[in-house]
Amino acid sequence: MPVLCSSCVDKRAVLKRPKTGHSLCKECFFWAFEEEVHQTIVAAELFKRWEKVGIAASGGKDSTVLAHVMKLLNQRYDYGLELMLLSVDEGITGYRDDSLETVKRNQQQYELPLKIVSYEELYGWTMDAIVSQVGLKNNCTFCGVFRRQALDRGAIMLKVDKICTGHNADDVAETVLMNVLRGDIARLRRCTTISTASEGDGVVPRCKPLKYAYEKEIVLYAYFKKLDYFSTECIYSPNAYRGHARTLLKDLESVRPSSIMDVIHSGENLSVRDGVKMPVQGTCGRCGYISSQALCKACVLLEGLNRGLPRLGIGKHHRLHDKILSQQPLSEREERKLKSVDF
């Protein structure tokens, strides 16, 4: 006997929701998925009417679903938002150039304006060039730090009020676990917040409308909606330690599917005792971007690349910041330490 949809009790169920275990038909699943994103947006008051919102688009499943759902909800519930796509071109041959093609197709399908900012125009370095100097071990540090700033710079060029990113529930839960494994209290506290407060001039507030959407459901949604997305792993190796958190989360999910939400719930309700030292936010002495140090991480990494000392930004070398700012030469010993590529 075919299983009927537990919501409409009319059509045949085509899937079992990974999040709740309910059997649903295609239409009811779409409805439930979209409705939940809508609830998330409304409950957290993510957007205000007439705001310009940039959707961070990589061409992957999360951002494609995000763009689709945002466009749809904007019409269905009349948010009155002006949406646009924002992409970052890291300059990774065989990966980003292909995925940007997908973004360009999405732009036409959804009829949204698109802005692409590239590492090359912002920093003068492509990821390919960085990897050739840094090697495959710490390249993700460069990419991550540069992307964060690139998105902000792109957002300022587009004059948007907010950026929304495609982070899903799995990503958030994974980050909670990873910060516990690393003992990083400061990040543990902020990694579950759904939107960042407007932190200052150079920074555009960000939010995660898909925060409570399971990765599996995003894939199902994209599959049943036949969305056009790009699915290839980055050709430069993924972050190893995050992999442990990821494995744990996937195992937890297989034991109890609600685990992902439970981890997020835990993360949201952890509160840190007063008096724990938290980094103070300041601005970078060189580019004016937010930074807890004298120089922001992107400037330190860039300085390292330009001076041929790639290790400068890996690990902690705060005491060198003043030297870099005043353009003093580094001592021979310092240079030797920061030069070696085989780390």
């Binding site: 939940e36 609830q39 109890r256 439970d262 993360g267 952890l270 509160s271 840190v272 005792r273």
Partner: protein, 469 residues
């Protein structure tokens, strides 16, 4: 000599032959001298580079225990302290440390009066009556040797608990900052006049568990009504905790010492997060937990790794008893608790700082202020008290199911914390935790009355039937 070079080596089953191999394989790279006295040959490697000789290891181990109690100043001289001993290496080591601290030749004597409690969980785990008797007899021998009063309590007793066990008894009036010093002063005066030793207390004989024949099947039915091992373990630990607190309360102890090691706490922290217990973390894993008001939970073993404890027990012949638990011999993915345990232990083998890093985040979490206690809502199953005002949160299932079902207002789940809702959800459908069942259970009672009865009645649906007959 016992020389292990692997940080994540499974410690409880130290195998002689395996050991010799290890020694041969890696010994040359490690200094064989004790890092402390720099004279004697090393007997233990606690962490990479930390080699200790027998004598220095003992001194280090004992000092750590005193330092933990001394630093926190939470146990007052002359206070009655109940040691929760499960029979495992960690709690048995704690028992031996207390014994050591109270002995006449101790350098700085501990000044509290201890008692021991063992909860016999055989009924929930599925041991036969014969096995349970044997275990209890083995432990009794260990306890008798200490000379402390002891209580062997079968878990079945939890079914007879008065419902007020969940209600925080009023805690003794807030202690001012100088209270500890005054108490020490009083104690010194009184003990010098009477010159009697604290340990010279009359020894209370506790008989072997006299379980009522009828309550074992009841407990078994309760455990069987829980469908997943995750929820079953969660329920068992809740029941155990209530019974421990109850025993302490009824026997007049004001502190309850738990033997959680730092390895155990790291596992507990990670599984608590995975079970949605993030808000309770500070209470569940901190040095002290005062959620029960008049009985404070203390964890003095939280600075020892499981490895240190295993080596100490082995070198100084501390007896421990191996008792099967719910997840003994269960596969890795049998439950969330089991999964996080094997995850932490495996990661610890590759990254030796895993446990200490996870555990390091604990003291940074806030502790519940006692004065906040009473007016705040409190979970009817685990007695978790919310301190940010947010108490009842819909679980993911309900959150997602906005469309399918409107939430009922008179739902028992509003009395439970997030994580206990999850546990109750895994119980069989006929348990009265569903909304319909709750209406049946509490037709006209107030919120307060409901709360009192939830532990016994929601957790033990079958128990209720029995009472009515």
């Amino acid at each position: 000599r016992y020389l292990s070079l692997l940080a994540g080596f499974p410690m409880c089953q130290v195998d002689e032959d395996y050991h010799d191999e290890l020694e041969r394989a890696g010994a040359p790279s490690v200094s064989k001298q004790c890092v402390k006295c720099k004279e004697a040959t090393a007997a233990v490697v606690i962490r990479v580079g930390d080699t200790f000789c027998r004598g220095c290891f003992k001194e280090y181990f004992i000092h750590k225990f005193r330092a933990m109690l001394g630093k926190n100043r939470i146990i007052f001289p002359g206070e009655k302290v109940l040691l929760a001993v499960s029979g495992g290496p960690s709690s048995c080591s704690m028992l031996s440390q207390v014994q050591e601290g109270l002995s006449q030749n101790a350098h700085k004597k501990l000044r509290f009066s201890p008692g021991i409690v063992f909860i016999d969980e055989g009924g929930a785990v599925g041991q036969s009556a014969e096995e349970r008797r044997r275990t209890a007899a083995e432990l009794e021998a260990v306890f008798k040797a200490t000379g402390f009063p002891f209580h062997i309590v079968p878990l079945e007793k939890v079914l007879d608990l008065p419902s007020k066990v969940l209600m925080a008894a009023p805690s003794p009036s807030e202690q001012p900052a100088g209270a500890y010093k005054t108490a020490v002063g009083h104690f010194l005066q009184s003990s010098s006049s009477s010159s009697s030793c604290v340990t010279q207390q009359e020894e209370k004989e506790s008989s072997l568990p006299d379980v009522q024949e009828s309550s074992t099947p009841l407990l078994q039915r309760l455990m069987a009504s829980v469908e997943t091992l995750t929820a079953r373990e969660d329920l068992l630990s809740t029941l155990r905790q209530h019974l421990l607190v109850h025993t302490a309360r009824s026997e007049g102890y004001s502190k309850l010492m738990l033997g959680d090691s730092c390895t155990r706490l790291a596992v507990k922290l990670l599984s608590s997060i995975s079970l949605g217990r993030g808000a309770q973390l500070a209470q569940d894993t901190g040095f002290s937990d005062s959620r029960f008001g008049d009985v404070t939970l203390v964890r003095p073993m939280r600075d020892y790794s499981a490895k240190e404890i295993a080596f100490y027990n082995r070198l100084f012949s501390v007896p421990s008893v191996s008792i099967p638990s719910l997840d003994t011999k269960a596969p890795e993915k049998a439950s969330i608790q089991r999964l996080t345990e094997s995850f932490v232990i495996k990661l610890q083998a590759d990254f030796p700082s895993t446990v200490s890093t996870i555990y390091r985040s604990v003291p940074n979490l806030p502790e519940l202020n006692r004065t906040f206690y009473n007016p705040r809502p409190c979970c009817s199953v685990c007695a978790y008290t919310s301190f940010n005002g947010v108490f009842w949160v819909r679980t993911c299932d309900e959150q997602a199911a906005v469309r399918y079902r409107a939430p009922e207002t008179a739902d028992v789940r509003t009395l439970l914390c997030y994580s206990c809702q999850l546990t109750i959800k895994d119980m069989v459908s006929q348990s009265p935790c569903t909304a319909a069942g709750s209406a049946l259970l509490f037709p006209k009672s107030t919120q307060e009355e409901k709360r009192k009865h939830v532990l016994v009645q929601v957790c033990c649906p079958l128990f209720r039937e029995l009472v009515e007959k």
